[in-house]
Symmetry: C2
Subunit: 402 residues, 2 copies
């Protein structure tokens, strides 16, 4: 496994600058030279203004001309969501770009990581990001999928490629692995350096069928579901069930056959991987462990490891219990030798600020139980956030289809 | 010219429903059965809340539990921008999707047009929307371009296609002709019905080089540029200049050669078109009329016609002055017979609520002056808005490459 270079504190050193996701004439959020972030927001008649950074609200201070200001503690490198709270209303600043997170639109900022460029746009051959509409017969609905095809896909019309199915987290959709995750740039760079094989990435939304509860109700005012307590962690949705649950069945019956019919894939289990972040990691575990005739590579980023939790809403799992190979992972490890033959990579990761001790213990237990193909990556200095998932994709991609 | 079907008032009849751009659990904006739009917004501690619909603010009324409500007058079919003003702060509701408009992020809603489905997702062969990064040597910068390739592009690897360069309006970027304009759906549907030839569409951002004025200033608080008086109309930017201005030179030296080298285009003037909306129409006129060795088809939607204006900031032009063929359109019409040979389609359009009389007069003048290939489309019941530009694309596309 190749793990991604990480910027060290001593390499820090950049000038204060507007977040790169701001529109051209928008100065704030401003990333300070010590990775603090300054927010400014004009609300001349408001009594109270807060900025909620990764779902934690901070009071802003009113200055001249109704302009409110707040400078945060230093932030970890990478992409972070935020929003504004103006006199109790959860709102967005129209100045920076907005992307999906927590089931609604969010503002965002990006903190640089000096000396590290594996997720930046570089002068290497670039693959394509493609947006495709397709009709799903099994759900009788139109769906939109994002795909990445590697450099050379068009120039080599006889070459066929392996496929990674890559899942978003709770409250997100098929856009995030491109918009925040930079999957295309990471893989372009890795392929150019020979650190990853070229493969296709399929990014779909795991919601199938009608909208999830609480459903569309005329009593729900716009914005009313956007409570600061909303969680993006695991446990948000019922996941799993026979055949890997509703999404697993959708993948097996609809998505995988459509991808194999539409793109030049190598359509067998040896050339098919699935990975996901947070809730998407839980789905990946549920789908793959119910369908090992379809998948050989499994990536569980910040979710999906067989570690008990205190409560469904809780991201941080308990200390692992003794392994029961007959029941965990849908019983697929009951015969470790058989599992080792079928699954070439079972990849776990979390941030150093998530549950590294529990995940390390789980990894030791798997090895002690005779599981030989389990890999572990702990992302230094990160919590449940995009920089951790970018790094996890990098580490996982280095193991695929080799 | 084939013009698009338009819903008639007698065909109106749909149930009240959430705007299709809302997230699944978000009820408002709600489109009422008579095309009024109801907004609800929770702002428990605010003193005043307004909703700004297409840049016109309306007072909302406070009800129970801090929920504010407003129901608009009937809205024209199609896509409309809006935002919220909470105690003087211009903000977005996080519940609906947000897209670029007016140089910042905007909320949006879409009003249906019963009986009309030429811009809906239908069961026809679909082309691809592609997002590509490329390095522009002439500006020494990375750029992002959106492209549409028609159905069959991948299945027929020896076929080459004509190209339409399609420009956004002021305060917009390369995303809008897909996200609001539905270019891919419109062309998929037209190609399936034999109403348009298959062609490639290239959508790039017309800003080249450093950000436009007022530039990044540490004195500009986030959101401060977002005055309700900001205009998206023509006259926002200096357009034109030698060779079609900075963007014209960028297209000629960088974009067109890159597109022709990267995609299977027919790389000659007979198979190259350019069109744009509003400011993009003005740019189209400037670029094409300075480079008629490169373009044969020209589309000017709500902008770019040689009709004088009262002031640069004004969308609605004056009554046309007598034509001076020696000076208008960069003097290209000085010899009408020569112009008729070179330009197969010169297409003008505007909404019935824009400046139809002036544009009709201009068209009569062109015909009287011996210009034989000028086309005019007036979109019924629409102002300076997306439904007009969708209809213009439809009408223009029906004339291309035939």
């Amino acid at each position: 496994m190749i793990t991604p270079p990480v910027g060290s504190p001593s390499s820090l050193g950049f000038a204060a600058h507007p977040s790169p996701y701001n529109f051209p004439n928008v100065q704030y959020p401003q990333i300070e030279s010590d990775s603090r972030v300054t927010f400014r927001f004009r609300a001349p008649d408001a009594k109270k203004v807060q900025v909620s950074i990764v779902n934690v609200p901070f009071d802003m201070i009113e200055g001249d001309n109704g302009v409110w200001t707040y400078t945060s503690a230093p932030q970890a490198p990478g992409y972070h969501n935020y929003w504004m709270i103006v006199d109790g209303a959860i709102v967005l600043d129209p100045g920076p770009q907005a992307f999906i997170g927590y089931g609604h639109m969010c503002n965002c900022f990006e903190v640089p990581e000096p000396g590290v460029d594996w997720y930046e746009l570089k002068d290497v051959p670039h693959g394509n990001v493609m947006i495709k509409n397709y009709f799903a017969k099994t759900t009788n609905s139109w769906r939109k999928v994002y795909l990445y095809t590697p450099p050379g896909y068009e120039a080599n019309p006889k070459t066929r490629y392996p496929v990674l199915y890559l899942q978003h987290g709770g409250g997100e959709d098929q856009r995030v692995w491109i918009e925040m995750g930079r999957t295309n740039l990471i893989l372009d760079n890795m392929i150019a350096e020979g650190k990853a094989k070229p493969f296709i990435v399929v990014m779909e939304t795991s919601a199938v069928g009608p909208p999830a509860s609480p459903g569309r109700s005329s009593e729900v005012p716009s914005g009313a579901g956007l409570t600061p307590g909303a969680s993006r962690g695991p446990g948000m949705l019922g996941i799993g069930g026979p055949g890997g649950g509703a999404y697993g069945q959708f993948m097996i019956k609809e998505l995988i056959p459509w991808v194999d019919a539409t793109f030049r894939t190598i359509a067998d289990r040896e050339h098919r991987a699935m990975a996901g972040l947070s809730m998407g990691g839980m789905q990946t575990a549920a789908v793959t462990m119910a369908n090992l005739d379809k998948f050989t590579y499994i990536g569980l980023f910040s979710g999906g490891a067989a570690i008990p939790r205190r409560a469904p809403s809780q991201t941080t799992p308990h200390e692992p219990a003794p392994l029961d190979l007959k029941t965990i992972y849908n019983g697929q490890m009951a015969n470790p030798a058989e599992f080792n033959k079928r699954v070439k990579v079972l990849f776990f990761s979390c941030g150093s600020e998530e549950y590294p001790d529990a995940l390390k213990k789980h990894q030791e237990q798997l090895i002690a139980a005779g599981i030989t193909n389990s890999y572990l990556y702990i992302s230094p200095g990160t919590a449940h956030e995009w920089q951790m998932w970018r790094r996890s994709l990098y580490s996982f991609a280095s193991l695929l289809f080799k």
